[in-house]
C-alpha cells in the first residue's frame, strides 16, 4: 500500500488522533456515558473504529510483520473476541464509570485489543473465518440485547432499568440490520477477502 507514508496518511493519522482526544474530553465522555445506549453503542464502537482506521494507516509490511510475530490471525481474533466480550459485561460498564483506571483501560483496550487485531486478522481471513466472526458477533449482540430487555433486575448500578431496556432494543435492532447487511454483501458479491475473484485480499473491505 503506497499511500501509507503519503501526506494523506499523515493527515488521516492527525485527524484520528484529534478524534480520539475529542472522545476522551470530559464533556464528550460525560455526554456519551450518561446513557447506556450511547455508552455501549456509540462510544465503544467509535473507539474500536479508531483502532481499525489506525491499523489500516500503517504500512502493509508492518502489519504483516506484526501479524507474523503474534502468531497469525487466529490469536488476533481470539484476543478481539475476549476483549470485546469483556466490555459487554454490565460490571465492566460500571467500573468504567467509577474507576478512572478502568476508564483508561477501556480507552486503550478497545482500539488496541479489538480494532487493531481485527484488522490484522481480517486480511488473512477467508469468508469462512469472517463469516464465523460475523455470525458469532451478531448472535451474541442479539442474545445480549434480548437478555437486557427481559432482565428481571437492573444489571448496571449506574443506569436505570428503562435505559437498559432501550439499549437492549437497540442491540437487537442493530444485530438484525447488521445481519441483513452482511447477507447483502454476500448476495451482491464483493468483499470476501483473499478469495475474492480478483484476489484482492487487502482486508480493506468490511464484510
Amino acid at each position: 500500500m503506497k499511500r501509507t507514508s503519503s501526506p494523506y496518511a499523515v493527515r488521516m493519522g492527525f485527524g484520528l488522533g484529534i478524534s480520539y482526544l475529542f472522545l476522551a474530553t470530559p464533556m464528550v465522555r460525560d455526554w456519551m456515558e450518561a446513557s447506556m445506549s450511547r455508552h455501549m453503542l456509540v462510544q465503544m464502537p467509535l473507539l474500536v473504529v479508531i483502532g481499525i482506521v489506525a491499523c489500516r494507516l500503517l504500512p502493509a509490511h508492518w502489519q504483516n510483520s506484526v501479524l507474523a510475530r503474534v502468531g497469525g490471525s487466529i490469536p488476533c481474533v481470539v484476543v478481539a473476541l475476549f476483549a470485546s466480550s469483556y466490555w459487554m459485561l454490565p460490571r465492566a460498564l460500571d467500573a468504567a464509570l467509577n474507576d478512572p483506571l478502568a476508564e483508561m483501560a477501556k480507552f486503550l483496550s478497545l482500539p488496541l485489543l479489538v480494532g487493531f487485531p481485527l484488522v490484522l486478522a481480517w486480511r488473512r481471513l477467508t469468508l469462512i473465518g469472517r463469516g464465523f466472526v460475523w455470525t458469532n458477533f451478531i448472535s451474541m449482540l442479539a442474545v445480549l440485547g434480548w437478555l437486557y430487555i427481559v432482565a428481571p433486575v437492573r444489571v448496571c448500578n449506574s443506569y436505570l432499568v428503562n435505559d437498559q431496556e432501550t439499549a437492549g432494543w437497540y442491540m437487537v435492532i442493530a444485530s438484525v440490520l447488521l445481519f441483513l447487511w452482511w447477507l447483502g454483501t454476500l448476495l451482491v458479491g464483493g468483499g470476501v477477502g483473499p478469495d475474492k475473484p480478483d484476489r484482492n485480499g487487502t482486508g480493506t473491505k468490511l464484510a
Binding site: I128, F132, A142, L147, V153, F179
Partner: protein
Amino acid sequence: MASYTYTATPDQGAKAGVLAYLVVSAVVLLLMMLFGLLMRMEQAQFISIGGLWFYKLMTLHGAGMVGIVALAGASIMWHFLRQYVELTTSIFIANLVIFLIGVVMILASVLLGDFHAAWTFLFPLPGNSMGMWSQGAAALFMGGLLVIGVGFVLLHLDIARAIIKNYGGLGRGLGWPQLFGPDDGNAPPPAVVASTMVTIVNLIGLVVGASILIMMLVNLYVPTFEIDALLAKGMIYFFGHVFINAVIYMAVIAVYEILPRYTQRPWKSNKVFLASWTASTIMVMFIFPHHLLMDYAFPKWFLIMGHIIGYLNTFPILIVTGYGAMMIVYRSGIRWDMCSRLLFVSLFGWAVGAMPAFIDGTITVNYVMHNTLWVPGHFHTYLILGMVAMVFGFMYYLGKPDENAKDSPIDIAAFWGFVVGTMGFTMSFLYGGKEGAARRYAEHLPEWIPYDRLGSYFAALLIASVLVFIFRFLTRLGLAGRDYQRASLARSIAT
C-alpha cells in the same frame, strides 16, 4: 440467446467423505425407522413400552430424522457442487465429526437423562419437566442441537465462499443476471442455484435457531430471565421449518444432476427455473406461520401471510422440477433402473406429500386438522417417498456396477415394497388424521387402532425394503468411489 444442448460430463465417484456421510445416514436412518415402527406399534397396541419410552423414542426419532436427512442431503449437495466449485474437504469432514458429537449429546440426554420434550423443544417445556428429567438433560439436548447447528454453519459458510469465489456473489449463484437481464445461457447450473438457495436460507435459520437455543439455555438456569413464549415458538418454528425444508432442496440436486445423464437431455437453468428458485428463497422464510395458525395470539396479518405464502410456495420449485423431469423423460426411451426409478418416484412423492400441507395450510381446515395425524401424514409422505427416495436413488447411482448392469428381482421387489409400504404407511396417518386421531399421543382410542395396525404392517414392509437398499449400497461401497459411466443411455441414443 441461450443454447440448450446437452454436454456430457463423466460420472464421478464419491469422495471418501461423501461415502462416510452416506454410511452414517443409512445406519441412523434405519435405526430411527425402527424407532418409528416401535412408536406406531405402541399406538396400535401390538406392544406396550409405556408413555415414557414412547416420548423418548419420539424425541429421538424427530431430532434424529431431521438431523440425518440434513446430513444425507448435504452429502448429495456436496458431491455435485464440488464438480462446479472448489469446496474444502476438511470442513466437510469437520461437519460430520461435529454432527456426531451433537448426536452423542442428544442420545445421552434422552437415553440417560430421560429427556422427552420432542425435537421441537418448545418453550417452556424443556425447563418445566415436573421432575421427569433434569435441567442437565434438557441442557444437553439443546446443547447437542446447538453443536450440530455450528457444524452446518461452517459447511454453509464454506459453500458460500466457494460459490462467491467462482461466480462473484450469491446473487449470481442464484442466476440473477440471467433472471433479470438477457438470458445469455450462462446461468449457473441447477446444482449451484439450489445450493445457493439452501445456503442463504439455512444460514439465516441457523442464526435464529442458535439465538433461541442460547436464550432457552439461559432461561433454564436463570428462569427469571423470562422469554416471551409466543416469540420463542415463532423463532423455533422459523428455524425448524427452514431447516427441514432445505433438506429436500439439497437432495433434489440428485434429480437435476442424474436424470439428464440417462436421457442426455440438458437440465438448464432457464428464466422460469431461476425465478422459481429465487421466489422460494424468500418464501421459504415466510411460510412457517402455517404451523402457528392455531395461535390466535399472533397478529392476524402474520397468520394470513402464512396462509398465502404457504399456498404460493407449494408450487414454484415443485412444478418447475416436476415439469422439467417430464421433459427429460418424455419419449426419451429412458432405461429404468433402480436409480432412475427412485429419482422419478421421488418427484411423485414430493408432489403428493405437498398436497396435504397445502390443504392443511388453509386456515379454516387448519383449525380442525392441525395437531392430528394428518400432519405426520403429510411430512412422512414427502420426506420418505420424496427426500429419502432421492437419497437411495443417489446410493444406487453410486453403486451401480456398470452402465448396463441389470437390477436383481430382489431390488425391484424392494422398490415396489418401498413405494407401496410408504403409501400405505402414510395413508394410515392421513386417514387417522381425517378421523380425528390426535398427533403425538402414545395411547389411541379404540376407533383409531385399526389404522395404527394397518400402518404398522405397511411400515414393516417399508423397513424391509429399505434394508435391501442399504444392504445393496454397503456391499457396493468399493465401486462407489470410482469414476466410470453409470447411467445407462436411453434407447433413443444407445441404438
